[in-house]
Point group: C2
Chain length 229, copies 2
DNA sequence: ATCAGTTAGTGTAAAATTTACACTAACCTT
DNA sequence: AAGGTTAGTGTAAATTTTACACTAACTGAT
């Protein structure tokens, strides 16, 4: 039985919430198998923890480094990787293509600008895809992404994660838009601000926005240092 | 790499919150190795889902059947089973005792009266142990239990699980005591009742307590059918 | 039969939180 | 100077949360 890690990396670009998907490489020799998209994921190595595996795998497939990934669920259906659609690809890239694979799902939230995914290893491409327009994915990855999104929304409300997605200096409107996009619903401006202020996680800077077409907004920064690990 | 499931089964007996622990069987031949307690857990079979594995393993080790178990976290430290204290036992009971094992933690909440654990397989004993007096356990099981308890408390508040722990007919005082014991803090009687009523999960029966030494309480039952699966 | 002991059951006022809602301020462009 | 655009701010009503104390109904003992 093999163990893998799958990384659902959500990215934000002040307009859209996207997920980082790779396109599986065409197996050598095979000519016209259907290319599939998937969430970056691979087998866990012998001497690394799950958290480390998640970091490494994301790096190997997409060149993204230093992203905080959080475990959210294990997916262990006996035949989650034995669908016909995935057979050819597994045969080309896995030492034991028939083996059952249990995967641990990780998710993360980053700002897209900071990270420029570069496909490598068995990934042919790595690209950001709109969360609300995800095509049919390899394995059970549609399910994995769905569940990650649920967890993300929940965590966003409960723990006010999400500053990761913004530039170091940001306006409250940007922050609000972020919430609206992730939660997929509109929020009230005044109430939103009250909420954020109450959490005491941001501080105003001495600085304002500039170069904008309208009243410049107060810039803020995150108060507590961003999570690492 | 092996995959296991560990089941943290919490039991309630109207006074205490306990966890179901097994005592590992003495390996044949070995005479005086230190017997360790652990949470019931074992390797996942080739053709079962994780959920099924949790059910089977709990049944095999403790004879408990039909308990709703919920996955809560994967534990994958590379050497979580390679401590000296666990070596002898692994050698006796595992085909590949040196192998790394990643485990998926499950938890559950049951009423003790309904379930009479009977040790079997490699479990020498199966017994309920007070949650607040847990000894040092095998592997990383202390950590696993701690985390399960956190999740349990969280779920209790959020989703008002916990009726499982009571007889079919129960009084609100019993229910309150249950909450108090799990959360390990006192609650206000009137506010508690308001809360429970607001959730609309219980209905009063036409029946009252009898044979008690004091004013008999109204009996209630759970409104929505208990979760299965 | 009465009394003492025990747990059941109930309401309300104050505080805190959440919700809904509309106008002025400051910058840019023309 | 005027028009367009987003920033920023307060309050009243509704809801939720919290703190708190007395009466009711049974049993067992006298």
């Amino acid at each position: 039985m093999d163990i893998s890690v799958d990384c659902v990396v959500f990215g934000f670009d002040e307009d859209e919430l996207k997920v980082l998907l790779i396109e599986q490489k065409q197996p050598d020799g095979k000519s016209a198998i259907k290319l599939q998209k998937a969430v970056p994921g691979d087998l866990v190595d012998e001497n690394e923890s799950l958290d480390q595996a998640a970091q490494r795998i994301l790096l190997e497939l997409t060149s993204l480094k230093g992203i905080y990934l959080k475990q959210f669920h294990a997916f262990g259906d006996p035949d989650r990787v034995s669908g016909l659609k995935d057979r050819d690809w597994l045969r080309s890239f896995r030492t034991h293509p028939e083996r059952r694979v249990i995967t641990i799902g990780y998710y993360s939230l980053v700002k897209m600008d900071d990270f420029n995914p570069q496909a490598a290893s068995f990934a042919a491409k790595a690209q950001w895809v709109d969360v609300y327009k995800i095509p049919s994915l390899a394995f059970d990855h549609n399910n994995i992404v769905d569940q990650a999104l649920q967890v993300l929304r929940h965590e966003l409300m409960a723990d006010h994660i999400g500053f990761e997605l913004l530039p170091e200096k940001f306006t409250l409107s940007q922050l609000q838009k972020l919430y609206e996009i992730i939660l997929d619903k509109k929020l009230d401006k005044r109430n939103f601000r009250k909420n954020i202020m109450r959490t005491d996680t941001v501080t105003p800077l001495e600085e304002k926005q500039s170069g904008v077409y309208h009243k410049p907004a107060q810039l803020f920064k995150v108060k507590r240092p961003r999570k690492t690990t």
